[in-house]
């Protein structure tokens, strides 16, 4: 769980997850494009690749090879563990 919090403690990595939750299964090239064009991030491809590695080690991202290309998917399972441990409850009147 420590890995998950560390992975989320970075705006670029949060944006990557935002983009994958809008459209899952993107290549590194597509993620670089949307981060640059939509979010104005001028990061190198290498830097974004490293961010993807951090997300993958934390279990928040999985990759799949299809044909000759590699696609990235958002895995929300570690986040479910967080809400499982600290469930959000509706405030009830006393």
């Amino acid at each position: 769980m420590v890995d998950v919090f560390r992975a989320l403690d970075d705006e670029t990595r949060r944006l990557v997850l935002d983009e994958l939750s809008v459209r899952d299964g993107q290549t590194l090239f597509e993620l670089c494009s949307v981060l640059a064009m939509r979010h104005g991030l001028s990061l190198t491809r290498q830097a974004i690749s490293q961010h993807l590695g951090v997300l993958e080690s934390a279990g928040l991202l999985t990759t799949e090879r299809r044909g000759r290309s590699k696609f990235h998917y958002f895995n929300p399972e570690p986040l479910a563990q967080i809400t499982g441990r600290w469930p959000t409850r509706k405030r009830t009147e006393p």
Partner: protein, 135 residues
């Protein structure tokens, strides 16, 4: 100086000619036999005297690792401009072309990426009317 010709490596020149003409809709410009291979170029019917695309044999040993590494990361090797990307996506998908990226809004343009079946990823781009792309 202006760009008159650019090239793409292709696994099989005859298969590439079929894909680039019959599926994508380019026209053959030059097909000059050179031993086993040809000096094989295509042009867009929208600008028949515009830049030529050379379909270059991919036999050189450096080509495979180069293209495989780019394909893994989804990096296209050429970009073609279209007027209506949704219509092209539908047309090409109907012809069996596989897209690694469906038409996607990137702000100033819509882009999509497909596999040219000859070893390359190709990007299509439709610029938005209000996007000023000239320097």
């Amino acid at each position: 100086m202006k760009i008159a010709l650019t090239s793409l490596f292709v696994d099989d020149q005859r298969a590439a000619l079929a894909f680039y003409t019959e599926v994508l809709g380019f026209q053959k410009r030059h097909d000059i036999p050179l031993g086993e291979d040809s000096w094989l170029t295509v042009v867009s019917p929208e600008s028949p005297h515009g830049p030529e695309l050379l379909l270059e044999p991919a036999r050189h040993p450096a080509v495979k690792p180069y293209r495989d590494a780019l394909a893994e990361d989804g990096i296209p090797l050429a970009q073609f401009a279209v007027d209506n990307i949704e219509a092209e996506h539908a047309r090409l998908t109907g012809l069996g072309v596989v897209f690694t990226q469906p038409p996607t809004d990137i702000g100033t343009a819509f882009v999509a990426v497909f596999d040219d079946t000859c070893g390359n990823l190709i990007q299509l781009i439709e610029m938005k009317p209000d996007a000023d792309n000239t320097p």
